[in-house]
Structure formats: C-alpha cells, structure tokens
Symmetry: C2
Subunit: 233 residues, 2 copies
DNA sequence: ATAATTTTGTGTTTTAAAGCATTGTTATAT
DNA sequence: ATATAACAATGCTTTAAAACACAAAATTAT
C-alpha cells in the first residue's frame, strides 16, 4: 500500500527546494515521519474548519485548494503540482483551515507532522525563510486574484484561468494541449463564474480561434491573444 | 520635523508584539535605523511596482493598502491602525509591490530598512515566527476575502465592510460611532462596488435602522443584524 | 465671504452575468 | 451491453449591479 520509492526519488534527486535546505540529519527525521497517502479522484485531503496537523507534500497527481461559498458555489484558490507543499498556513496562523483541498485526479501525497516542521524551523533558519518566502508569494497572488476576480469581465477571468492552467501544468508533448483535464464546473470555479458561462465563453474562444476544445482536452492556439484578453478584456 | 517621542513611547511600553521579541541590543539597532515620516491625508506611502525597501510601522493615524484595478477602480485590501507593520511582503517575496499604500488621514510612520529586518530575522527565530504568523493570518484573510467579494451580494459586502471597520478601528466613546470617517468612494472601494451603490445601500441600512449616517459619521445601531447580513445577505 | 471643486444623493437606463429549462453527449456502474 | 447518472451545450428569461445624468450639499481655495 505505502510505496516509499517515490519518496526516495524525491529525496535523492533534490527535486524540491526544501530538500536542499535540510541537513542529512534533518532529512532523516522527515523521512522517518513521512507518511504516504493515496487519494482517489475528487477525494478530500482536508476540509475547512478542521485543525491543521500535517504539511502535505504532493508527490504525484494534481490538487486543488478551494473554498466553499454561497449556494454551493466553490472558488478554487490555488492549484498544486508535484513537488509542492501546502496545508501549513492554518497551522502557522494558529487557526482552523479556512479552505479545503482535494485531489483533482489520482494522487500520491506525503504527510509530515506540522509539529516536526515547527521544530525544524526552530533549528534551521533556511527553512524559516522557505516558508516566509512561500507565504509572501502566495499572499501577493491572493491579493492580485482579488482584483482579477472582482474587476475583470467573464472573458478576462476565463482567459486568466487558462493562463493559470498553462503556468501550473504546462502542455503535453504537442506543446499546445493543456496538461490538465478539468470539468467545466471546475473551470468555472477557478474563474468565478457559472458553469453555463464557462461553457459559453469557452465556445466563444473556440469561434475566435484562440483555443480548440475536444471534451476536456483544451488546445491553446493563440496564447498571446489569450494573455492579452486576460490582461485587459 | 522628526519627533522621536512617539517612538520612545512605543518602545518603552512594549505596545507592539515585535518589541517584546527583540533583545535590548536588537532594539537599539532598530531604534538607530528607525526614520520617522509624516504623511498628509491621502499621501502615497509606496506604490505598486516599486521595489520594497522598508518595513513600515504605523505609529499614528490610519493607512489603507490598496490595488488599482480596471477603469480607475481601486480595491482596498487591508486597513492598518497603530501599531501595525506592513510593506514587508514584497521584499520577502523578492518582487516589486503588487499593491500600494496611502495614509487615510494625517499619519506618522516609521521606516526600518528591510535589509536590517532580514538580518534580525537571521539572528532571532522569534522574529521569523512573527512574520510567519503575520503572513499566514493575512493569507487566510485574503483567501476569505476572495470569496466574500466575489460571491456576496452588495448588501452583504457593505455589511462586511462595516464590520471590518468596527473590528479595525472600533467606536468613539459613545460606543456606537465608527472611529473612522471615510469618503463614500473609499467605502465602495472596500466593498467592491460603485460609489452610487455604496451610497444607496447605506441609505437602505439607515431606513432599516441598522445604522445612522450624518455626513461621514456612521453610527452602528444594530450590530448583530449587520453581522447577520454580512454572513448571509 | 464667494467661487470653484469635490462629494453626496436620486432617479433612470443599460448591460453583464445569473438562473432556468431542455436536450444531447459522455462516463460509470451493474 | 444496457441502464443510470453525470456532464456539456444552447436558448431564453430574469435580475443585480453598473453606467449615466443631474441636482444638492459640503469642502476647499481664493
């Protein structure tokens, strides 16, 4: 059930910044307390209002962090790819989670107890800087998102969401097919609109030859225009 | 021009958490590098796209952090009161400011070089924790704001803005008059709506005996109802 | 004070986006 | 393989909020 091979690969290849920060002794402590979990598609990793216990490390798959809003509407706040860390903010803020996270697709994650992370931060200032840096970048991103989602029109918001997908997950080998296959509803939840409007606006983009759509397969035909619409439209 | 008396008061009375964290030697270094600036009403403290250089400490007055959006529309992101610190995020993220800040009213601020703050963080892990904690709380606040501003209707957003004002600045001695006197336009910029809609909705709240309004003087008559509208409406 | 400018208050019109309904299509499960 | 459910597409209606226009009041400057 628990496959450690993925973990060993991560550590040995220094795939994530965090591993270059830790001393061999610290790495060993992390490895000893690193519990691997497998999640099914759409399975919740943690939910709003729960108390945070673990630093989650995404090893394989895709994860969304989201917040449930009014009338069952969901806002996707951030997307994660391997190898990224999340789930620590609420612990540091000393409060319950204000958002939830779930696997977009079958995913493998590692859970490291936050109490251990806290200890390591206390003895390794570079780890403290790692989190100060991460939190600062995310805060800037969140502040920017506030203005994007409240002031841009639907076309701008959808274009922006698509560029977020490009920047987070990139393309397949053909260099144009988005390497993530989301339901229209999730695209809507990412861009703060209803599912119908996401569908409608995607169709417009197809008509305008900015993208092509085949089920959940989205090809980006005119990325420059997409970014232009995202910036102004 | 530079009055150090306010500063001495801050230090001697441990008015801010940060001063209880620093050693006497560290406090001395901060004091030696602490430059006091006075700002007029609406004067910009720093602007979007500039490179961050200072940790700003608000000693007296009120400050808004905001982001200019589309068509001259402005979104107020956070409000500060004495004694709070801001302006450090962009430095930690190693990027230019993504938002601006300005004095709401005549204000006194201290500027501490971020390079010094960085040094102090390196030698004092409690200061590292101070910023990890602050950043984490603000990030949670920003994520929550995204959903509030995008999903709540106008009444809910305005009610929320008013509760933010209550929580940030409190009441005058009569326990009902808001201790901040904002232009309708700023109230609108805080609640993501046009000035007309801010005026209109304030009027509705007056009719419903939730508040009274006399120029910029706002009295909160029914705080419980206001918070209820903020939560659901 | 008086004029000029900004801010506030209202009514009306316009519009972007939500809501709803229906049908077709594609997965998933038995 | 077929039933069942979930998802996608599209047209039509409704509505919340923006945009606009103008008048009144309040600041600020001269």
């Amino acid at each position: 059930m628990i496959k450690k091979s993925t973990l060993e690969k991560v550590i040995s290849e220094d795939l994530a910044e965090i591993w270059t920060i830790l001393s061999p002794e610290e790495k060993r402590r992390v490895v000893d307390n690193f519990v691997i979990h497998n999640f099914k598609k759409n399975q919740i990793i943690y939910a709003e209002n729960e108390m945070p216990e673990f630093l989650w490390c995404l090893l394989k798959g895709k994860v969304k962090m989201f917040k449930d809003g009014i009338g069952g509407r969901q806002q996707i706040l951030r997307l994660y790819r391997p190898i990224q860390y999340f789930g620590y903010r609420a612990y540091f803020a000393n409060e319950p989670y204000v958002s939830s996270s779930a696997a977009f697709e079958i995913s493998t994650l590692g859970a490291i107890p936050m109490d251990l992370v806290k200890e390591l931060i206390n003895q390794n200032r570079n780890l403290a800087w790692f989190f100060i840096h991460e939190l600062s970048r995310h805060l800037g991103g969140s502040d920017t998102k506030i203005v994007n989602l409240t002031q841009k029109h639907i076309r701008g918001r959808l274009a922006e969401a698509l560029t977020v997908l490009i920047d987070n997950y990139g393309f397949e080998d053909d260099s144009e097919t988005l390497k993530i296959y989301m339901a229209r509803e999730d695209i809507a939840n990412l861009s703060n609109m209803t599912t119908s409007n996401a569908i409608r606006t995607l169709s417009s983009f197809v008509t305008e030859r900015i993208i092509t759509v085949d089920g959940r397969r989205i090809k980006i035909i005119n990325e420059a225009l997409l970014r232009k619409i995202s910036k102004f439209g």
